[in-house]
Every structure is written in C-alpha cells, then in structure tokens.
C-alpha cells in the first residue's frame, strides 16, 4: 500500500490525537501571540464608550451551554465595560438554559465591579416566545416579565423605576448563540423601535451578520473567541478568551495542515493512476 493510500485510510483516532495535542499544548505552555482588535469589535467598544453614564442597556443573553465557551468570555468582557462605565444593565433571555449561566456571569462581574443587584443590574430570567416575546419585551418589559429570575416582582427594583419599554433603553446588546437571537432581535425590534444594537455571537454566525453591520443595523459585532479576546484587549483585562487564543491559533494551523496533507495524498494517488475513492 502506498503512503498516499495509507494516509487516506488513516484511523481517524490519530487525527483526533493531532487536534487534541494542537489545542492542549498551547494551553499548558502559552505562546503569547499578539492580539489586535478589529473594526467590528472596536465599533461595539466605541458605542458603549459614547453612551452617557447611567444609561440603561438591555443585555439579551440568548445562549446555552453548547455556546458558553465562546459567549461567556464575551459576556464577561462587555459586562465589565458596561459596569466600569456605570451603565444600568437589565438582563433577560429567550433561551430556557441561559438563566443560571447569565446569573453566574452577572453576579461574578457585578461583585467584581462593586455593583448592587436591583439597583445597578437585574436578571429577569427566561421568557418563552422567541420573536413573539421580543416584541412584547420591547413594548412593555414589566408586562412580559412580571417577576425576575428570583421570583420577585420586576417593578419592585429601583433599576426598573424609570424603565417601561425600549424607548427607555439606550442600547440593546445581544449575546447570541443561535435561534432565537440576533437575527430575530434585528427583525422584530432593532428597526421597528429604532434601537441602537450590538451583538456578541458565536463564530459560526459571525459571517451572517456582516451585512447587518455594514448596513448600520449593528453598531458592533463581536464574533467567536477571537472577538472576545479582542474585547478583553480593548478593556485592558485579559481573561479566558486571551488565554485560549494560542490554542485557537494552533488548532487552526493543525486543520490547515490536515487539509494540505490529505490533498497532497489525493493528488499523488491520482497521479499514480488510481481515481475515485480509496
């Protein structure tokens, strides 16, 4: 059996090992590769910097554990920025599994920045209804969320005193893991209510929202772990995303190497006269 054929028939578990090592080794021995913020991420940072202090931001956390490795670092970085700028944060979600994850992030960053639940931020929890409930929330927050994540009446919190609907919200920041998420907020709320909107999304979805960023519907677009690392760089607080970027880089190089090796093997086999699958 030629080398090319042996390569093409390689047990996939060896490939799994290659990926595992490519990702694990840089986590154990960081390389410190340089991170440069890109315009779409800078756009969100600038938009938050431009908000007057004390502005209300609706923090829509639409994710589940499958997207958490990418989205939690973004949520942490943007929340840190919002709290450092003394914004009031109202958090809600349309995903059933986001509530506890969002609560953890809010508490962690809220405590770090010396913020008080109910005054500086509130977690309204989950509400069913996907795009239907998005319009309801934008029209009347307390009607859609009679109680918060902890079961207390929403209107009992000081932060909600002057906030009835999205006319009172300066920025809609969506942390989006899929459907329902950024696309639905754009369709149902952003244009309809004239909202300033930014999104932090998974890398898979980032290419889809580039048209919305270019059209001005989104003021900023933070995509994937790389986007999160760039935002950490912008707020000068390296975190999980920054630590993961070396592993991300080597993981990509490993995939590219596999593609090149497999195509070289394919071409060699083709040249030796055998065509079709091995």
């Amino acid at each position: 059996m030629s080398l090319a054929t042996r390569l093409e028939k390689l047990d996939r578990r060896y490939l799994f090992l290659v990926i595992l090592l490519a990702v694990l080794l840089p986590l154990l021995n960081p390389l410190g590769l340089p991170i440069e913020p890109t315009p779409k991420v800078i756009g969100l940072h600038k938009a938050i910097e431009a908000l007057p202090e004390g502005s209300v931001v609706y923090f829509a956390t639409d994710w589940d554990p499958s997207a958490a490795p990418e989205l939690v670092p973004m949520a942490q970085a943007t929340l840190r920025h919002l709290f450092r700028r003394n914004m009031k944060v109202i958090c809600g979600t349309t995903w059933p599994t986001a509530g506890p994850l969002a609560e953890n992030v809010l508490r962690e960053i809220g405590d770090e920045c010396g913020k008080t639940y109910g005054e500086d931020y509130v977690n309204l929890g989950f509400k069913e209804g996907r795009e239907v409930v998005m319009v309801s929330i934008a029209t009347d927050i307390a009607n859609a969320y009679p109680v918060d994540y902890h079961g207390k009446p929403t209107t009992s919190y000081p932060i909600m005193a002057d906030v009835k609907d999205f006319q009172d919200v300066a920025l809609l920041l969506n942390i989006s893991g899929g459907y329902p998420g950024t696309k639905e907020w754009l369709q149902q709320v952003q244009r309809r209510f004239g909202m300033k909107m930014g999104t932090c999304t998974t890398a898979v979805s980032e290419p889809e929202y580039v048209p919305n960023f270019q059209s001005g519907q989104l003021v900023g677009l933070v995509g994937g772990l790389a986007g999160a690392a760039e935002y950490e760089r912008l707020i000068d607080t390296p975190g999980t995303a920054t630590r993961g970027m070396d592993a991300q880089s080597l993981g990509h190089l490993a995939i590219i190497a596999l593609i090149i090796v497999s195509n070289v093997a394919f071409l060699l086999r083709k040249r030796s006269g055998k065509s079709g699958p091995p």
Binding site: L15, N104, V133, S136, V210, F266
Partner: protein, 222 residues
C-alpha cells in the same frame, strides 16, 4: 370546525401582527400585545407536550424491557428527580437542598452539553482530512478563502504577517477582513434577500389561508 377554526385563528392573529406594525392606534396595540401574551403561554404549553411524549416512549421501553431499557430507566429517574427538585424548591439557587436543582444544571447538564458539542472539533478535523478535496476551481476558491480566514482571524496571522514583514494592506488580517467585508458580504446579502423574499411569500400565504400544510393538509385549495 376541524379546518375553519384554526384557519380563522391563523388569519386573525397573523393579520393583526401585520396591522399592528402600521397602525399605532391603542386599540390595535393593546389587542396585539394581548394576542402575543396568549401565544407565549401556548408555546410554553407545547413544551409540556414534548416532555409528556418523552415520558410515554421511555416508560413503554422500560415496561416492555426493550433494547437499552436500563438507559431509559436512567432517563426517567433523572427526569423525575430534576422535576421534583425544580417544582418543589424553585429554579434559582437559594442554598442547601434548594440549590441542588441549580447545581444539577450547572455541574451535570452544562458540562455534558458543552462536551457533546466540543466533539465537533474532532469530527471537523476528520471531515477536513477525509472529504475536503480540491477538485475544481470553485473548490479551490473555497479552500483558499477558508485558509485565509482561519489564519487571518487569529493571532498567529498577526505573528506570521510580522515575521514576513507584510505591508499593512496585505497582512493576513487585512486580507481576511477584505474577504469578509466585500465578496463574502455580497454573497451573504444575496442569500439574505433571497431567503427574505421566500419567507415573506410563505408568511403571506399562511396568513391569507392559502398555505395549510401545518394543518396536515395539502397546499392551496386542498
């Protein structure tokens, strides 16, 4: 009754959602908000249907001792334990036994789901090695774009650009950004517009009662 009532609901609720966008009158806005509240409740009820179906199927498996019935028993056991803890003590973490529901979610459900999806990293590598073949010009275009994006979007692209002393407009990051902001944007926009036209047409057909597949019937007029 079998067809007319659901169709009536579809037409009334659908048209009201559309009219609510154009007519700011409080009467329309109030009823649209009310109908949205009703839809939210019914969607929530539909999840209970799913859970009931799951219980029914797995109880059947366990009672008939079918293949993999011990696993079905584990499913039912974990379902009822979680259900009991959540309904009895609430979902937020209040410490002690009242925090166990939250812990089950954070330390059992969350790592399992996250790990299941992380398996995709291995499978994408395997798929890239076995199936990614550059057989035509179009496939080459796809491959070259993917390589530029994979290098340009991560710090190794910056490091390689510095090492090769590439000018500002030709770094991996710049090329990747140009690809995303121009050719990629044009194609994605075309897909968005095409999909939007299809969605609007289908939505209007449903709201006007022409499309009835969701009722288990054929299309227009059937």
């Amino acid at each position: 009754m079998r067809r007319e009532v659901p169709l009536l609901f579809t037409v009334v609720f659908g048209l009201l959602m559309i009219v609510d966008f154009f007519v700011p009158h409080p009467f329309i806005a109030d009823w649209a908000q009310r109908f949205r509240d009703w839809a939210i409740i019914i969607i929530a009820a539909s999840f209970f249907l799913g859970v009931a179906n799951l219980v029914k199927i797995n109880l059947h498996k366990v009672s008939r001792r079918e293949k993999e019935w011990p696993f079905a028993a584990a499913l039912l056991g974990s379902l009822f334990v979680t259900l009991f803890l959540g309904l009895a003590f609430g979902i937020a973490d209040k410490g002690g036994i009242r925090g166990v529901f939250n812990s089950i979610f954070l330390y059992m459900y969350t790592p399992m789901q996250a790990t299941m999806f992380s398996l995709l990293a291995f499978y994408i590598a395997s798929a890239a090695f076995r199936s990614f073949r550059v057989r035509s010009f179009e496939a080459t275009l796809l491959a070259v774009t993917a390589v530029f994006v994979m290098i340009g979007r991560v710090p190794v692209g910056n490091a390689m650009s510095d090492a090769l002393n590439l000018p500002d407009g030709l770094t991996f990051a710049s090329v990747q950004a140009w690809i995303m902001d121009f050719p990629n944007l044009a194609a994605k926009r075309a897909i968005l517009i095409g999909a939007a036209l299809g969605a609007i047409a289908t939505g209007l057909k449903i709201v006007l009662g022409i499309e009835r597949n969701y009722l288990g019937e054929g299309g227009a007029g059937k």
